[in-house]
Symmetry: C2
């Protein structure tokens, strides 16, 4: 239905309108140079009005909308038993903006998701501290609290691409273990005051109330003491069981497994507690066969969410969009390449750009119909640049499983088919 | 279980910890002066670990969490038939932070909530423009887009308190017609370019696809052209039917009914279109019996959400928290009074403070156990100050129904019972 003459006419229209005052404001979206996907049709194509359903206590999704996380079993195990599922990935290919809906945040659990009774749950705080205190959930909720918008990411996000690129993978498969909420809770520092934590304590054990008893040692750096929260809410509502109800720890910018769900205990000490979660798991196997412990930061990262794996595009105008984030601070810049990394240009960043938060980026692109590869590269405000895959492998080798933050490449063939690829 | 000696010991602990470097960071939450609700119990009180449910495609709410909007019928009509419900209010007393969960955004509809087929839905743009275009939803989603965090508020929010204060009302009853999401969509200015809107057009008709055919005339001010969006997503996911799926208009800072849901038509003209929605409805009856048309801004406002109506508090430490917003810009300051307006002090504002966005405020308070009244007063960055009730009535009279933004007073009796009150 669209044709080049129509599009040219619309581009001419833009030039005419440029004289108007309101177009100066509109200039911020940089529209005059992009082709126009609009189609003229007849008025008869606008459907008639519809009688609606009754107003209810909850807004349900449309029956035309199908959103679901992918649940996955342990790598190497057959996906035969739902009880084997260990994670559930956010559908980044179907979401827009930067906030993740409350039921779409990724999930990674080691023994399923308990629904704890908040009237019975307690938080014990002890160890190197003058007081040993046990808090009820009611007490925690009565304390001074703050709300912070932060991404959370599993350290295993992206591991699928360490060794090979499955061409059937979507961006939900490759990168769906990152999400973002507004979290609300109490400063860790406030709780440390309540128990009078020993100034000589340099590590903290955080332990969950799930059957697996996931527990991690967390170094008490100034950054963590300043930013860590014990949270009870996600996007304004109580945490959901999959995300730690009634309380979880939140360590912004660091691997998700530190943000212990179903939090039941904090213990202060002067050395790491060496739980099995930081020996048997969550260590990084290096090329020399040794394992690195406590690689905690989620480094600067980004991914193009559209076009992305299994999508199909047409020649002409295509909007490229994606997400960028860094556990070290704010995103300063995102560049995209549409020629396999030979040349780069800056993408637009959506405001507000927040500390340790996902930012949505986009850029206009005219695809000439020839096979190519597209990728993104982010830079944070501390100067960290997202590495290309070869540079990351040169340092980390192929034994590694965690903290894969290499630039993600999507290949596009002559038919417009988009597939996961390595660069 | 709590006692004064225990609390004093904890306050002493704060003083000791003040020497530590990390306490300088913690100082931002101003905790050293508040009483401590923590209680020491035995270790046996920490419940055992629980085996969890399987990981699933959607994170459901806890069975222990009960969140629902209140549905209400037209004022004066009996609430006998669910089909009479015209709105559904956000439970501000049960939510925290500033973002509203996607299924908890308030709803106000005139003929229920149609679930439109996005494959069939179209947006017609015509009138004083060189082109008459009809867009599919797929075309709109392919355009350059932005995401913005804005509050939305029904012009009828707070009308319950124009004439009397029902002491049985919660803050969900009195103020539940305001919510906030991250919205994603296309700039109105971009669409105006596509049709080459006539520079002489000063008004725009926006019409919905619901059976009521809600339609409003919108003045094409520079501010509206710069900020208005045609949105297709809320908090990252497709709009839900109750909120306009597949598309709605978003006019930030102005009365919610301008943000036409199920948007099917935009028409440009050089005068208001005088629909029945701006004659029979959504006009403001003044003291002299005349009606004011096009009172569009949602003025500077705030409300204490805790403690609030029907809650009960105890003597000693209480955290006061609430929400503030202004359709004119950013919130600059929120003050609270705990003596019925005789004296005021500034509340803390949670970051980030965004343009035309709700901001969460809080303050520490020691209640001495004597009956009193608490209220909040917000100021925006344009210098607008939220009026007290008497000042608002002096200007608007008691005929008015819309745009009630007077300071909200909660009375507290000697038993700690909190009730809705007028000041």
């Amino acid at each position: 239905m669209s044709n080049n003459k129509e599009k040219q006419a619309l581009l001419d229209a833009s030039a005419l309108l440029a004289r108007r005052k309101f177009l100066r404001a509109a200039g911020t979206v940089a529209v005059a140079t992009v082709a126009v996907p609009a189609l003229a049709e007849s008025l008869a194509d606008v459907p008639a009005r519809r009688v609606g359903d009754s107003i209810s206590g909850l807004s349900q999704r449309s029956k035309y909308v199908h959103l679901e996380r992918i649940t996955e079993a342990t790598p190497g195990k057959l996906r035969v038993d739902p009880a084997l599922a260990i994670n559930s990935k956010t559908p980044l290919d179907k979401l827009v903006g930067a906030i993740t809906p409350s039921d779409m945040h990724y999930e990674r659990s080691h023994s399923g998701s308990p629904d704890l009774d908040p009237a019975q749950h307690r938080l014990l705080i002890h160890g190197m501290a003058k007081k040993e205190l046990v808090f009820t959930m009611e007490e925690l909720r009565a304390m001074p609290s703050v709300s912070r918008i932060h991404f959370m990411e599993c350290s295993g996000n992206g591991w699928e691409n360490w060794k090979k690129a499955d061409p059937g993978m979507t961006v939900q498969d490759t990168h769906g273990l990152v999400s973002m909420h507004e979290w609300t809770g109490v400063h860790l520092s406030y709780l440390m005051e309540q128990v009078n934590a020993d100034p000589a304590s340099t590590w903290m054990l955080a332990e969950g109330g799930d059957a697996a008893g996931v527990a991690r040692s967390i170094p008490l750096t100034d950054e963590i003491i300043e930013e860590a929260l014990v949270v009870y809410a996600q996007n304004g509502e109580p945490l959901r069981p999959a995300h730690g109800f009634p309380i979880r720890l939140l360590i912004p910018g660091m691997e998700g497994n530190l943000s212990i769900k179903w939090l039941r205990r904090l213990k202060f000490g002067d050395r790491p507690f060496m739980t099995r979660w930081e020996t048997a798991r969550y260590t990084q196997l290096l090329p020399n066969g040794k394992a690195r412990q406590f690689q905690l930061y989620q480094e600067v990262n980004s991914v193009i969410t559209s076009p992305s794996g299994t999508m199909r595009i047409g020649a002409g105008y295509n909007r490229i969009t994606g997400l960028a984030w860094s556990g070290r601070g704010k995103i300063a810049k995102v560049e995209i390449s549409t020629d396999g990394g030979a040349s780069w240009r800056e993408a637009r960043l959506n405001a507000p750009i927040l500390h340790k938060a996902q930012v949505r980026f986009d850029a206009d692109w005219h695809w000439d119909g020839r096979p190519t590869r597209i990728l993104s590269r982010s830079t944070d405000d501390k100067g960290h640049v997202q590495p290309d895959r070869q540079s990351l492998l040169a340092v980390m080798g192929e034994n590694a499983l965690f903290h894969y933050n290499a630039q993600q490449t999507w290949a596009i063939d002559a038919e417009g088919r988009v597939t996961n690829a390595l660069s």
